[in-house]
Symmetry: none
Subunit: 422 residues, 2 copies
């Protein structure tokens, strides 16, 4: 079965509200194994709402509408369904009584405008809403199932789970959609695309997509199958091929962030971590401390923005800075060693660089990352494209990636596949 | 002119990514004074993408497409534009050279797949992208303007401002649209709405909208007028009324960030700044160092995540921690004094708190901010709602807001209007 989503509301078009409802419905439809080709936003205007529903009737088996079924004048989704299906509006005395009881049970008299919620297109059913007064309007029209749900996210979510998903699962027979996201850092989207070109050519079910988000390139595999086991079986050979091809560029899957991986490695090794940051100005520490429970292994950080702080507070010698410049591998290693000593940590992660827009010591985009563990200390220089924020964000992820490679010993072992950005 | 938005990406349909791009484009179109009737999401599938563009060609004067113009195999928006307009694909040697130079300037050879980004539908122009390699594809087809932009939010945002909005403002003819954004921190959106209810009732031209973004509430005034002077005259009385009503909750306007205001104040006073962060873990320092030239006044930071670091490295006495707890005003003040002393700065900004999900010393959401200047030191305790990320983000902005109020002497003078969140 093919589904289509229509979200109603001028505030969505104006960008005053982000359309999280469509994402919620989309994820529910995928879970229920339905294909979903289009998702449309339309303003609170009857003619255009009717057109949007008519178009969806032509191309889908299931239409999920959200918004426009409340009690105010601009709530006209019921009218639009009547318009698109050529049905008349009827009134449910039974639902009106239920509404009156709902208000009475809260010690209040019902405003008359609420009676609008007892109206429905002829032939539809009103499904109960335990979280509010607007019922789900459910209509089967010429073989197409139409659900109209409230736009309030908490009500929408509850009603999807209570009514829509069970009905769709039952009707669609078996089958579901399963996704695996493989997360990488170190190469550009185009480079990842080239590395995986032949794997991509073999894809279909699962389908394969590349997503560039902040400093990461994610590879998403999506399989349709009768059961979760079958979907996993479809995904497994593709996941293996990708992991083998990309080697240590892959740091995790699904909701594993690189910072959570780094913290997990530290716990496993019994090591504590400290960071020394110049150009990233605290971003590595912020990312690490975004993980609940980071305090078990994370000591803290020295943001050594001023050169004097590098010397006085991290103990980087003036001679070293003089000889190599502040943006250099020897200085980065000294910062990593210095902060590990100063904050009594086992692992020191250090960043120094020239983030721009004005060059500092070295050309803009030159960033040096060093990691020190009880086993070894190494540094790496990278040249990153883009503006200040981009250079800082990439370097932050790069520092976490190198910390991961260092802590697991992969960096020292000479594994070459960690990409050009770290 | 009537606009339509098409966002391309199966990840949007599956609900793996929320469609913030459509909201960003919608708000831009509204600012430029364009009507906007439909916004559609379509997956990475050529036939359906062609259909979506064809439909938009029938009902809109301007089509803004986002996504699907990167270098990988699933990026097929260019092909879909060709399909919908009946144009052939051509190749820009000039843009290919530009791409090669872009990669060469970063010391790398360009992957061949990137040449895809030098392709364009016959008759289109490629508009430069200073934030990445995918250019904007701009095509005027039978009187309809088509813009195809990358889906990476930071690039999309920059390219809307750089190319799309100026071209649309120019084409939309009569008059112009001028916006002023007044930026506040310290109260909720509904509280700001109530404070300004009577101002809102008088609005029309300029229109007035409230935008909650991260920890800020922004008030946007948008005036339509024949000239910039007339638009400014329409905006001025509203801006004055809002600033008067909201007092020190207002920290800036338009592109003034609170961190740039704080740095400007420090330069003006001849003061240097250091931060000591526990619960925010480096976020205050990251925000400050996001401003180019921060090094003129920013010394650095000590992220004292571990209690031992607060004692040993910031000199907070064990007795003080014992007596008041680590999340307390005396400890926060000692951290601010300690880091100012340790990094030899004039201003110390300190944060300690319990960001959750597990309580630490005090209840989750209890955050203490202290600021020390050469004039005085004070602390303030706030109780913030929401999850860990929200609490940390709000506290970061709150710390910068209190630094602003402290450095300008407003905090000490007892000005009461700085809101419930700082």
């Amino acid at each position: 079965m093919i589904a289509e989503v229509i979200a109603v509301g001028t505030e969505l078009l104006l960008g005053q509200t982000v359309n999280t409802n469509a994402a919620r419905i989309g994820s529910g439809l995928a879970d229920a194994g339905l294909e979903h080709h289009y998702s449309t936003v339309v303003g609170d205007e009857l003619g255009r709402m009717v057109d949007a529903i008519r178009l969806a009737l032509e191309r889908a088996d299931v239409i999920v509408i959200t918004g426009g079924i409340g009690p105010t004048q601009d709530d006209i989704t019921r009218e639009a369904i009547c318009g698109a299906t050529g049905r008349s509006m009827v009134f449910s005395e039974e639902y009106a009584d239920r509404l009156r009881r709902w208000w009475a049970s809260r010690g209040r008299e019902m405003p008359d405008s609420n009676l609008k919620q007892a109206e429905y297109p002829d032939g539809a059913q009103l499904l109960d809403n335990p979280k509010g007064t607007a019922p789900v309007v459910f209509l089967e029209h010429e073989g197409v199932l139409i659900f109209a749900l409230p736009g309030v996210p908490a009500e929408l979510e509850a009603l999807l789970d209570l009514h829509v998903m069970p009905m769709l699962r039952q009707r669609s027979g078996e089958g579901l959609v399963l996704s695996r996201v493989i997360r990488t850092y170190g190469e550009s989207e185009s480079q990842v695309g080239e590395m995986l070109a032949d794997v991509y050519d073999k894809s279909g079910n699962p389908s394969m997509a590349f997503l560039a988000t902040a400093a990461e390139i994610k590879i998403r595999l999506t399989a349709h199958a009768a059961t979760a086991e079958e979907a996993e079986e479809l995904i497994a050979p593709f996941e293996s091929a990708i992991r083998e091809r990309m080697g240590s560029l892959v740091f995790g899957a699904d909701d594993q962030t690189i910072e959570s991986i780094v913290l997990g490695l530290a716990e496993q090794k019994g090591w504590t971590i400290a960071t020394a940051e110049s150009a990233t100005g605290g971003m590595v520490a912020s990312r690490i401390t975004s993980v609940p429970g980071a305090s078990r292994v994370f000591r803290g950080s020295v943001v050594a923005y001023d050169e004097r702080v590098k010397r006085v507070n991290l103990g980087v010698s003036a001679d070293l800075i003089e000889a190599h410049g502040v943006v250099s591998e020897p200085v980065a290693i000294a910062m990593a060693e210095g902060v590990a000593h100063f904050l009594e940590a086992d692992v020191g992660i250090a960043v120094t660089g020239s983030a721009g827009p004005d060059p500092q010591d070295k050309a803009v985009g030159t960033m040096v990352i060093a990691v020190r563990t009880p086993e070894k200390a190494m540094a790496r220089t990278v040249r990153l494209p883009g503006d200040r924020e981009r250079v800082r964000t990439y370097t932050t992820t790069g520092a976490l990636q190198l910390a991961r490679l260092a802590m697991s010993g992969v960096w020292w072992s000479g594994e070459p596949k960690h990409g050009r950005w770290v």
